[in-house]
Symmetry: C2
Subunit: 491 residues, 2 copies
């Protein structure tokens, strides 16, 4: 098969032709959430990005196995291997068994993914469900001389690894800086004295007596480090080397750098052919952070229940907003930008309705572009959804112009536009019209109400038409009189 | 706190006062599905039954931790410890990694549970995620002299166990019959020759070379037996002895009998205080079975897409139907019975609408019963939802009679009935009106349409009122003129 896609490989910093290891199969691994709190805006971008990538590769005929994990143990509060496990801490605060926390927030995460119209992954392994695989991998790394036990914990020996491999190849970090701890506060960190070197990272941590989440291991009771889970689960379900590993740019270091070192240190091969990283989101120009008061949960966007938000935003508004930027660009979110995205998505959806009402002409007017080719060209170029959307808008403009009688579209072009909506707007980009609830009944009832209103107005019965307008306003439904008929929108 | 509930304990065959081990906490474990196919009718009854139990105990003020597992490995096709793993076989047939099968059918199961309005469990552990805990438990049972290794597999030694304990106490099976294999075909079964006795069951099975799902263990590569997972996961999340273990009656033997033996053999204590079992479902008087062609998936009920079904049945119809019988009774399903359940549920839902329209009288008519007390008395008596529903129907009758002017209800009684709907109809029983889609918008638009129609009729404008009737008919919505106003129903 042909391989038309180019993607930017974070490891080589080059745009590379994407050729899978075993076409038509594609192995895709994306780091999933640590389930200790409600899903937030930072969860939306990577999962929307890689959902679109998977949908596009599937559209092209690849068979994608998409593995996205659930981190339900081992993610410590600090990247320096000290502090409390994030989930155990939350459990202590909420007086629940850690696995109740895991269940609660995994379910909320799944709900948010569904609302954002992200397809479910093929496999969704949990860290706690793969302790054996992690222990086996650690044992091999120790046997290969690249990890050591210290006081019931096991650490990866970065210095030893660096004698043969380039630790920092992905992130651009320099080992000497890491060892010196340059730029970090010179704190005395719990557990740091067990390491041979400051840059070493934990593969296994000894459980303190207060730790509920613990398993037996060759090094005593403990729990796995955060990084090893992704190496163990990706190799189990996708093989020792697989095609694409995705995640947010904030995971490049230490998480992904550690994954490369662990897999190389265990299996003597590089684990990933293409590394892809989405860029970060800012809010009103500022970094997101709990201490900054601008850390907004997805559900707060959907309800509008946050002091920084002037209204509720439908999940599709968030999705549309994300797709308007290339995944490697930073993205600044604001009420203004979201309102614009909401209108733009609605415009795309409305045009699909208009498309169905068009009367085909015998010929197209001149210069109707090949929209499908333009969209695939954009997506082939490092998944440029921003450019792809601009071509969707050109299609929307043509549809509206045809409806206004300014352009003519043939039956064939109308059919092709319909197909493009299904393949790309609803398909690969995963957009939909979710502002009207149960659309079939509501749409049917609205058609009836609009017909009654039109008849009332024709009869100059403005009392009735005003009554309808007021009653609809109470349901937040607005009727708009347009050139070729009446449309409505639910605010 | 008081403990008003009585439940039939399958182990003692007595109705017993339910007194939890650590009130107000209640530990509830229910055997979850083996995720190798779409959820079917047999999955509906236990999960509805124990969902109602959990909701009722929560209503009474207990704090319930509800653990329901996912069996994603180890459930062999035959209870005699031979044959292929159900999930691995399905994977081979569908050419997928077993964990893709697990993900697919776990998601479908979750969807069906949501459609049936079963709340999510507190913890949902997977068998494959608890291999270490299962191995630890097996090691203890071996150390206690109640299991033995044979050719890379480990079997529970039922004969040895029976010297001190009553194997068969739950199921009423007699050990000598099990050893003789009375009533079974005298087949030579793969793996049977490894056992000391025919009644012994597998704790760990050696993996054949073609087995994909395998883990290292002290006995070599293999996978756990089906029964040990529930013992390992229930004790991990609920303690060595916990309050209630639920499941279908078909699981009493060998699964639950084995669970008792394993836990007793490992921890020297009985694992469960109260065993609860729901009875089986028949279809048109016949046992369900794949070979009988009457094995109906839940989704087929919801779409009506099965030769035995004359129409689609909403999830709430299935739920209502199940609740009309006591959980310990057998239940025969048929189109007639489901149609009746559909109408009955709709009647209960409609009466809630009517309740809101009632004008309170200064006093009740005589003999208005204490419905809340009647319902709780029924539920206290071994969760008798059938009797509880009969009292709901008495309330429905009173509401409709009051609407027709035959009875009078005071403001206080109307408020109490409203509260009973929330606490019991929507709450504990988990019923809802799911035949109208997105009810808020649809209800609002219908109110407007009915108002327009009423005004048209008052003005003798029958052209408009007929047009409304016809347009609604196209949406399968029927308007009914009743004594005190207009109601509507979606067919």
């Amino acid at each position: 098969m042909e391989h038309p896609v180019y993607i930017t490989n974070s490891l080589t910093r080059q745009k590379e032709n994407f050729i899978p290891l075993n076409p038509p199969h594609v192995g895709l691994y994306v780091c999933g959430p640590t389930v200790y709190g409600p899903p937030h805006l930072g969860n939306a971008r990577p999962y929307i990005t890689f959902d679109v990538l998977r949908k596009y590769l599937t559209y092209l005929g690849y068979k994608v196995r998409y593995v996205r994990n659930i981190t339900d143990v081992g993610h410590l509060e600090s990247d320096a291997d000290e502090g409390e496990d994030k989930i155990a801490k939350k459990a202590r605060l909420e007086q629940l068994e850690p696995m109740e926390i895991v269940k609660l927030y995994t379910d909320l995460f799944h709900l948010a993914m569904e609302q954002l119209n992200n397809d479910k992954p093929s496999i969704e392994p949990t860290a706690s469900g793969h302790i054996i695989e992690q222990i086996s991998m650690i044992e091999k790394i120790i046997a290969n001389g690249l990890a050591y036990e210290s006081n019931g914990s096991v650490y990866f020996d970065v210095t030893q690894y660096s004698k043969q491999h380039h630790y920092g190849a992905l992130s651009g970090k320099v080992l000497d800086d890491l060892i010196a701890g340059a730029g970090e506060e010179q704190r005395v960190l719990e557990g740091q004295e067990e390491k041979r070197n400051r840059a070493d990272f934990a593969l296994w941590k000894k459980a303190m007596p207060e730790h509920i989440m613990r398993w037996p291991s060759p090094w005593g009771l403990g729990f796995p480090g955060w990084h090893i889970e992704c190496s163990a689960m990706s190799s189990k379900y996708l093989g020792e080397t697989f095609d694409i590993h995705g995640g947010g740019m904030d995971l490049q270091f230490p998480h992904h750098e550690a994954e490369i070192a662990q897999s190389q240190g265990c299996n003597h091969v590089a684990p990933v052919k293409y590394w892809m990283h989405n860029n970060m989101i800012t809010i009103d120009g500022k970094k997101m952070g709990k201490s900054l008061g601008n850390f907004i949960h997805l559900e707060q966007f959907f309800t509008g229940n946050h002091p920084l938000l002037t209204q509720a935003y439908a999940p599709m508004t968030i999705r549309f907003f994300m797709l308007q930027a290339h995944y490697r660009s930073t993205l600044d979110i604001s009420n203004q930008a979201l309102e614009a995205a909401e209108k733009a998505n609605q415009k795309v959806m409305n045009a699909f309705g208009t498309l169905h009402k068009l009367k085909p002409s015998s010929n197209n007017t001149a210069n109707i572009p090949d929209i499908r080719k333009q969209i695939t060209t954009a997506l082939n170029d490092d998944l440029n959804t921003a450019i792809a959307l601009s071509h969707v808008f050109e299609m929307v403009r043509l549809i509206n112009a045809a409806y206004a009688g300014i352009e003519q579209l043939s039956e064939q072009t109308i059919a092709e536009f319909t197909s493009i909506y299904h393949d790309f707007v609803f398909g690969v980009l995963g957009l939909r019209n979710d502002q009207t609830g149960d659309s079939s009944d509501v749409t049917g009832l609205m058609d009836l109400i609009i017909a009654i209103r039109t008849e009332a107005r024709n009869k100059k019965d403005f009392a009735t038409s005003d009554k309808i307008r007021d009653a609809l306003a109470q349901l937040n439904i607005r009727i708009k009189d347009e050139k070729n008929g009446v449309s409505w929108i639910k605010d």
